[in-house]
């Protein structure tokens, strides 16, 4: 099941929830096409796939921040809520 989001706020919220529901299954994919000038980010748990596409520079920073946040969540042993509060 593929769901595409049009606002970053919605996407990041749902994507984070999806990851927290099953951290082992969730997977984040970033696809960058320089020729198109587009960036696509997908988060999936093999059941649902959430997608956000953009061609805006301002979204690059948000995407990269989100990516880093999830990376930190994945390696955190404890206090997940602390990592979330950084948002």
């Amino acid at each position: 099941m593929m769901l595409q989001y049009w606002t970053w706020e919605e996407f990041s919220l749902v994507a984070k929830k999806l990851y927290l529901a099953d951290p082992m299954k969730a997977c984040v994919v970033l696809k960058y096409r320089h020729s198109d000038g587009s960036l696509c980010i997908k988060v999936t748990d093999d059941l649902v796939c959430l997608m956000y596409r953009t061609d805006q520079v301002q979204d690059v920073k948000k995407t990269e921040k989100f990516h880093s946040q999830l990376m930190r969540l994945m390696v955190a042993k404890e206090s997940l809520s602390v990592a979330l509060e950084l948002d």
């Binding site: 951290p23 082992m24 969730a26 997977c27 984040v28 994919v29 970033l30 696809k31 960058y32 096409r33 320089h34 020729s35 000038g37 587009s38 960036l39 953009t54 061609d55 805006q56 520079v57 301002q58 979204d59 690059v60 920073k61 995407t63 990269e64 921040k65 990516h67 880093s68 999830l70 990376m71 930190r72 994945m74 390696v75 955190a76 042993k77």
Partner: protein, 110 residues
């Protein structure tokens, strides 16, 4: 598929972006890493022994060349900044939205 040390990964990732970005896509994948060999040995114990739940797998490809690395919390801390800068610096072919930047400037002025 090339498994790299986390220190080499940023360099190789930069090279990957720069080499082929004009022609095709660049993919970066992030997933939580579970040391499966340990799981198989200790089927009964889900929690406890050596959970290895503090690692993540980072992969990158341009469609042809593949690189990946496994990182633990220490390594992530070290390379957080490097990665952020790397991604931001390389994904710079996108459009700028002038309206929003103007509104930001006016906010800053206030």
């Amino acid at each position: 598929m090339v498994l790299l040390e986390s220190e080499q990964f940023p360099t190789e990732l930069t090279r990957l972006f720069q080499k082929r970005w004009l022609l095709s896509s660049a993919y970066v994948t992030l997933k939580k890493y579970d040391d499966q060999t340990k799981r198989i040995r200790k089927k009964g114990t889900v929690e406890g022994f050596e959970p290895s739940d503090n690692k993540c797998l980072l992969k990158a490809t341009d469609g042809k060349k593949k690189i990946n690395t496994v990182m633990s919390s220490k390594e992530v801390n070290k390379f957080q900044m490097v990665y952020s800068n790397l991604l931001t610096a390389n994904m710079d072919g996108l459009k700028k939205r002038e309206e929003k930047s103007k509104s930001k400037k006016s906010k800053a002025a206030q």
